[in-house]
Symmetry: C2
Subunit: 420 residues, 2 copies
């Protein structure tokens, strides 16, 4: 029987499979006789000593958790400052860990979280409290360094390719007398991974998506319009996938370029409507546009099996690494073969992952800038393979679980998180 407890926290934007990782963490720890606490609302809960006792959840609830989107314990957008800037905050974290005999801290997130986990392990050592910190990868943006891909990305990639495929069939049916240009806006403010995944919806020269607009490529209005026109004249219609992070030559986000709403307020968000209006004004084509926003990252019903399996595997490995005495590492996905697709989990130092951002390689973007290459397909294709649909209830909706999230009794004085 291991001594001490394990603390698990979710960080940043949630995904369709972050709870799959959570379920794997809890399931694996239970098999090793280790009690798991979860921080409510991520690192904020750890700072506030707002902890959840996951041992109050049934085995059935934890099984269902593996198929439930969102972040079951709450997540947050909160980046700890550097140790130099706010040493007291790190000291508070160590106080909370010590008060509850927490010996292992698993932080499930992206670059920032890897950095935080790394720092906590260092501070613990400096303050005489041994805490093993394991980063657990998660992000729809797929921008984590070292790991071949990130749990969460495969499912949003599948949802995006699937949505483009389906909507394109709709447009193909109607373009003769209706919509000629359809624009789908996808997430990815800094890197075009999700936009690239849309390319899996088709592979022929006339297959949708006909144009992908990557954040890596400066938006050129004239060239874009010429492409749309040529596509409509050749194919009859044009399906465009645009990354929310698209920028013009002045470096401004198209989505923030001064749109005014019905109430006269400056409006954020919406590359798709901006492009649609441009197409209408300059080319006169009837358009439709879609912006799935959170729907894309919470679409557990359309999750990829590869993604589900990897999300589970990193959770399981994180606990095994922790209990084996590893520290300041992250279980990453190592691709050992493209065809057949094979992968394994291996530990990588958090120091190599923290604060790095993996960009879409230039070799993944077609020379003309509007599509993906064969290399991109080789990389992306296995990530959307297989279906991992949740069990459905008699009501026709997935059986998503709501946990009890029973609070652990506090032992320390109240702490207010400043600088929010």
């Amino acid at each position: 029987m291991a001594v001490g407890k394990l603390l698990y926290a979710q960080s940043g934007g949630v995904t369709a499979v972050i709870n799959t990782t959570a379920a794997a963490v809890i399931d694996t720890a239970r098999k090793h006789g280790v009690k798991v606490y979860a921080a409510r609302n991520g690192i904020l809960g750890a700072l506030r000593e707002d902890l959840i006792d996951t041992s109050k959840e049934s085995a059935a609830a934890i099984r269902a958790l593996a198929w439930t989107p969102g972040g079951a314990f709450g997540s947050c957008r909160y980046k700890l400052k550097s140790i130099e800037e706010n040493r007291a905050q790190y000291a508070r974290l160590i106080d909370v860990l010590r008060a509850h005999d927490i010996r292992w801290f698993l932080y499930n997130g992206g670059n920032d979280s890897a950095d935080t986990a790394h720092k906590i392990s260092q501070v613990g050592k400096a303050l005489g409290y041994e805490i093993a910190c394991i980063g657990v990868p998660k992000t729809v943006d797929n921008d984590l360094a070292v790991t071949d891909c990130c749990p969460g990305f495969g499912s949003v990639a599948k949802y995006t390719a699937l949505s483009v495929l389906e909507a394109s069939l709709d447009v193909a049916s109607m373009y003769e007398s209706s919509t000629k240009v359809f624009i789908l806006e996808v997430m990815g403010r800094h890197a075009g991974w999700i936009a690239a995944a849309a390319g899996l919806a088709g592979n022929g020269p006339d297959d949708a998506p006909h144009l992908i607009l990557f954040p890596e490529i400066t938006f050129d209005e004239d060239a874009f319009l010429a492409r749309v026109k040529a596509t409509v004249e050749r194919v009859g219609y044009c399906v465009v996938v645009a990354s929310e992070g698209l920028k013009n030559a002045e470096g401004r986000f198209l989505a923030e370029a001064g749109t005014r709403d019905a109430f006269g307020h400056a409006q954020l968000g919406g590359v798709a409507p901006a492009l649609a209006a441009l197409v209408k004004a300059k080319l006169g084509y009837k358009y439709h546009w879609a912006l799935p926003d959170y729907l894309q990252r919470s679409a557990r019903h359309a999750a990829s099996k590869t993604d589900h399996d990897q999300a589970w595997a990193v959770g399981k490995a994180a606990v095994e690494y922790a209990l084996a005495g590893e520290n300041a590492v992250m279980p990453v996905i190592v691709r050992t073969s493209d065809a057949p697709y094979r992968w394994k989990i291996a530990p990588a130092p958090l120091a190599k992952i923290a604060n790095h951002e993996k960009k879409l390689p230039p070799s993944f973007i077609r020379r003309d800038g509007y599509g993906i290459t064969a290399a991109a397909r080789r990389y992306l294709a296995p990530l959307i393979r297989g279906e991992a649909a949740p069990p459905y209830g008699a009501d026709g909706l997935p059986k998503y679980v709501r946990l009890k999230n029973a609070a652990v009794a506090k032992k320390l004085p109240e702490y207010r998180v400043a600088d929010r």
Copy 2:
């Protein structure tokens, strides 16, 4: 062996299951030894003598068609004028039907299509050409009269409830430090059926969606803001479902109330961003919004089994009615029991369906105007039950079929469709 051929045409906006009806029509006709032609791009193809010989498609292709979204033969938005206004156009239709020995015409669409089918049967009689016209119901809007529900609606209803459920779990995980108000815009310009279906995502007082904005209820800015504020203060976050057809007290669509895009052009579409900006300006809450547009009506991957079964049943019945000598009728869905849900197909006169619009009953909208009643749940719940996911390929995407759509040789002089 029956004499003559059957012509099938798709009309108006396509759905996730209109091809299921098409597959049922072809499958049933084949079993009766009747050859099916399809009009390319709906009634436009019938006018232009642009016909497709479906006998060139394999049995496997027709089986796959039943699981493929979009309109496989092309659809159109084109309403024939009245007989008085354009008798020549009706005469042309009869010429085409006669030239190809078409004895049965099945028109798969909504109110307008029922009207067109009705008129063609009358004109045929007047011109001495016996043509049996059967309307086949289809519309995501669920606004057809007489039938209990419309094939196509159950699947968009399921997609909408599912999307609200999933996105709400996302918002629930993050609201403490991120998005507090999430707005989903759904289709339904004139009737709030799809918005109402979102209500199936939850049933408790604090369950999402917290507010549904129906096109039947005039938008009241102050009352809406007060509700959003109260919900955020009570629940922590607020999920709003807004119909695209929402109007203000002046009777203007909110989506068309003068939005200007980044390029300074007037912009159509977007109740969700307008509401989001209002919430931000007046209440200061962080928001996100989604507008799935065509994704909602082409989401075959999330289709309802009830809907799939009904789409098949109306196609099968339409052929059986035609071959049994019925004319100017539509197979409609008759609900015989709520619990257990039971339904049957029965013929209804097109004259009773043509040009009528079924509104959301006032008894389905909660007295406060922001939610659905128990009566609405009783009606809606069975329509989203059961899953009818398409078969998937090894690539992780549904195996949607593309038909050959082989053209039938023309026999008549060219005809140009005017007044487009």
